[in-house]
Structures are given as C-alpha cells and as structure tokens.
C-alpha cells in the first residue's frame, strides 16, 4: 500500500473527526448539563451552513461569512432554546426526542421556504483553494488542513474554558449536580442558555466549514446527527474529552474503512464476496465499533463523573 495515500486518508479521517467533534461537543455538553436530548442540533448545523453560505455569496468573502454567521447562529440557537426547548427540559428523554423530532420537520421546511429546495453551493475561499506540501512529499488540500486546525484550536479552547475558567467551573458543577449547584447560588437558567448558545455556535461552525465542500443543503444535519450520537455514546455522554477522542476514532475508522477495507477484504476473501461485503461493511464499521465499546463499557469510554 502506498504510504502517502495512507497518510492522506488518515488526515481525511482526522478532518471528519474534527467536524464530528465540533458538532458533538455541543450535543454532549447540552446533554451533560441540561439532560436534554436535542435532535434539532442538526438543524442548527444546517441553519449555520445556510446563513454562512448566504453571507459569503453576498459579500464574496468566506471569512466574513463565518464571522457574521457565528453570532447569528448563536442568536438562532438561543432563540430556539428560549422558544421551544426550555419547556422540555423537565420532560423525560422520550418526550425530548419526539418534540425535537417535530422541531426538525418544522425547521427543514422553514429552510426550504426561505432558501428553496436546492442546496446552496459556495466556492472554496481563494486563500485555501489549493494544496499544501507536507513533509514526506505528501500533498494535501489546504482547506481540509484548515478544518483540522480549527478543530484542534476549538478543542484546546474548550478544554481551557471548561478546566480553567469560572464559567467552566460552573459548567462542571452544573453537570455533576444541577440541584446542588443552583442551591449554592448558580443561576442555572442563565448557564443553560449560555451553554446551549455555545453548543449551537460550534454546531453552526461545523456546518459553515463543511458548506464549501458539500454545499449547504436540507437534511445535512440529520446525517451528522446520527454519527454524532454514535460518537457521544462511545465517548461517554456528557464528556468533552470522550467526545474528542471518540470523534477522531470514528472519523479515522470510517474514512479508513471506506478507503482500504475492500483492499483488505480482497486479500482475505474471494473477489466477488469481497466486492459485495466491502461497501456494506465499511459503512457499518463505526456502528460495530460502538457495539464493541458497549459490550465492554456500557457507559462509554469516559463515563461522566457524579450525577
């Protein structure tokens, strides 16, 4: 096997992992602190992508698109939380799943009315449209590298926020014991909105970053949502560290599986069986990974401490 292709696919895996992380971080935080299962997290990702794509096309600048779209997505997330979601915090998980399922139907249709049924494609930013020479003679698309770097920066920033700041302390307190935290004078309500906004912004960012590659389209949120569920189940619901590691695991395994599994199977199985099993097995790999993790650690790799 060509080592360069291998490394390139590995990087692709990291890139997918970083997108998954941006998405899953908010999902897992919101669950950890508010005990809310939010299927509409995918809708925020979609809306973020559409807003960024629209502004990018207006101003002819992707960077400005992101800069303006981030606060707008934050606002959208907070409005969503305020209008629709805060009423379901106290409900059980099934009600939350169903209510946010209804919300997805509504938001998908809403986006279809505003932006039309076709997706919104935007070009790669000129600065990042090209390839970068890496060591070992590997040539890699600059934009994908950019996504990886953003993901790593956000991960470091989140770590700093949660582990080192006062807000992070409140977040951890809220996650381990909500009632105790509020009894000690923490404004849980405000904390909820802040955390939800943060998660929404990160999901929106993920959507914005993918828009130049896959275009902004209706239903894009649901695809990544299911993957992110797998990620946070593997990582341990509520754990950012778990989400980070599981995102990379899932991204790399999924990408590598799609790239190399058929080659591997061809070496092991008769060719027609390998050709039939290859695509099926590679699209199922991360679910199998999840099953294996669950057999050994039903609470995920990093089960959250406390409540």
């Amino acid at each position: 096997m060509d080592i360069n292709i291998f490394i390139e696919q590995l990087l692709n895996g990291f890139q997918l992992g970083m997108l998954l992380f941006l998405f899953a971080a908010g999902l897992t935080l919101v669950f950890g602190i508010m005990d809310l299962v939010n299927l509409a997290h995918g809708s925020i990702y979609m809306v973020g992508a559409f807003i960024a794509a629209t502004i990018t096309l207006w101003l002819d600048s992707f960077i400005l698109g992101i800069i303006f779209a981030l606060p707008l997505t934050l606002l959208f997330g907070m409005v969503l939380e305020f209008i629709a979601l805060k009423t379901i915090y106290a409900r059980d998980h099934m009600d939350q799943v169903l209510a946010t399922f209804g919300l997805i139907l509504f938001l998908n249709e809403f986006v279809r009315i505003i932006w039309g049924p076709a997706g919104l494609a935007i070009p790669l930013p000129i600065l990042l449209d090209g390839s970068i020479d890496l060591p070992l003679g590997i040539v890699y698309p600059a934009y994908r590298l950019f996504i990886i770097i953003i993901g790593v920066l956000v991960a470091i920033g989140l770590y700093w926020l949660v582990a080192k700041t006062r807000l992070g302390m409140l977040i951890r307190a809220g996650a381990s014991n909500r009632i105790m935290a509020s009894a000690l004078g923490v404004n849980i309500r405000l904390l909820f909105t802040a955390v939800f906004g943060l998660g929404a912004m990160l999901a929106g960012l993920a959507g914005m970053l993918i828009a130049p590659i896959n275009q902004a389209q209706i239903g894009m949120g649901e695809e990544i949502l299911i993957l992110a569920f797998v990620v946070i189940v593997i990582g341990g619901i509520g754990s950012i560290r778990g989400a980070f590691i599981a995102s990379i695991l899932a991204g790399v395994i999924d990408t590598m599986g799609r790239a190399f599994l058929d080659v591997l199977l061809l070496a092991l199985l008769p060719s027609n069986a390998a050709e039939a099993a290859g695509p099926a097995l590679s699209s199922m790999l991360i679910y199998l990974l999840m099953a294996v993790v669950l057999v050994f650690r039903p609470q995920g790799l990093f089960p959250p401490r406390g409540g």
């Binding site: 169903l98 695509p279 057999v295």
Partner: protein
Amino acid sequence: MKKATSSSTAILLIVFALMPYVAPLVGEVFYVDVFARIMIWSIAAVGLNLILGYGGMVSFGHAAYIGIGGYTVAIFSFHEINNGFIQWPVALVISGAVALLFGALSLRTRGVYFIMITLAFAQMVYFLGVSADKYGSNDGLNVWHRSHFKVGNVDFKIDDNITFYYVIFFILLLVIYFTRRLVKSRFGMVLKGSRSNEIRLNTVGIRTYSYRLTAFVISGVICGLAGILQANFEKFVSPDMMDWPRSGELMFMVIMGGLGTVFGPVMGATAYLVLSEILSSLTIHWHLIFGPLLIILVLYGRGGLSGLFGKSND
C-alpha cells in the same frame, strides 16, 4: 377497559372492516389503500408499544425490523421464490434474530444510551440496505409478485387488493389479540413491573433482563411482520422504509394513541396517517404545520387518544 375506550375501539374496527364497501360508495376507492397502510402501520405500532408502553424501553430503531421483514420478502421475490410459506417464516425468524442481537446489546444500557443505541443499530441496517448494490441500493427493489401460499392443490393468492386488505385486517386482529393475552399474562406483569421498579423484581428473584429481551424480540418480530405486509402491499422496498424518521413516526403513533393500552397504537397510527394525509393535501409545506402540531401533542397530549376517551390500564 372503560366503556368509552371499548366503544371507540369497536367503532374503529368496524370502520376497518367496512372500508372496502364504504369507499366505492363515496367514490374514493383510494381510501382502501390508505386504510390498508393504516392497518399495516398499526401492526408495527402495536409491536413497538409492547416494549415502549409496557416495558418502558424507548426504542428509536424499530423501522429496522420493518425493513428487514420487507427486504426479506423482496429479496426472495427477486430470486423468484414467491411462496409465502417460505418467505414469511424466514422473514420473521431473521427479524427476531436481529432483534435478539441488537436487543441483547442495547439492553445492557439505560435511558438515553438505549435510545441512541437502538437508533444507531437501525441506521446500520439502513446503510446495509443503501450499500446493497445487487438489491437496488438507494433506488430500492420492486417486488414483482406478491407472496402466494401453496399447499398441495390449494394456492392462496393475495394479488387482489380487497383480499389482501382483509388478510391484513385479520393479521391485525390476531396481533392485537396476542398482545392482549401477552400483557395480561405473568410475562406481561413482569414486563410492566420492570418498567416501574426493576430493582424490586430482581430482589424477589426475577431476572428482568431475559423478560425484557424476550419482549424486545417479540416486538421486533411483530414489526418484521408489518414489513412483510408492507413489501407485499406496496410491491416495493427501499432503504427509506427503515431510515430513522420512520422510527420516529412509529414512536409518534404509539404516543398519540396513548402508552400502555393495547389498542391505543391503532388509534394513534390512524390519527397520525389520516392527519398527515389531510395536511399534505392542503399544502406542500405541510411539515410547517405538522411539526409544531407534534410538539404540542408531546407537550400537552399526555395519555394520547385513548386517554382522551377514558383512561385504561389493562
């Protein structure tokens, strides 16, 4: 069961029974198809309700078993094996076997983990369907011939839509009867008990895991049965029939009918499908109304339709 519930049950069953005669009278023959679909979804909803309503297991992946049942029939038909005596038992066994595998793994977990894991397993089956190039992948697979049941000289066919309608009706009645017996049995008691206080049951020496797993498998088989009927009725299967929104819809039907009554899911499926039929005929943007309606239902409609007509707890 209170009087109001049983009378609304009776009314709905009479509507089901008479629809093939009523529809031509009002000049809307397609009502027969609509109601056949309603009954098929009702069967699946009764199946899901067994674990969701009675066992408190929130499976967000039951469309997978509908898909497995349907695909088994379609794949047999693709290879020109149309005998229902081969197709149907194999489809049911595969649905049950997959439910056993997924259930055994999923039931190791609780709460939201369970919801997400059942969802993820179902998506795995969905992607299996998408990647099955030989069987149409995303485009789906036509079922050219409906199942037929041949023993000796007798060859029972369901090609005629009215005949098939009554076959579906009969199967629905059987499934309801079976489920009613089941939830009233000792097994049903344990299942309901495991929802409210599992530790207590374990303490008195009942291994609830195996009861819950058995219920999960039965529920998967009933959904597999619904899938068999769906594939035969639509003469078509596609990965879409097991995509996750279908699982969500199925859950809504159960919730709409009200948890913990045998007949509730039938009312729920009827309400859900009739409502979406009406709304989608009004505007193409009907999800804009339907979505919020569902949210309101979840928030304020606890107890569902059967709750509306009088609470029962059988």
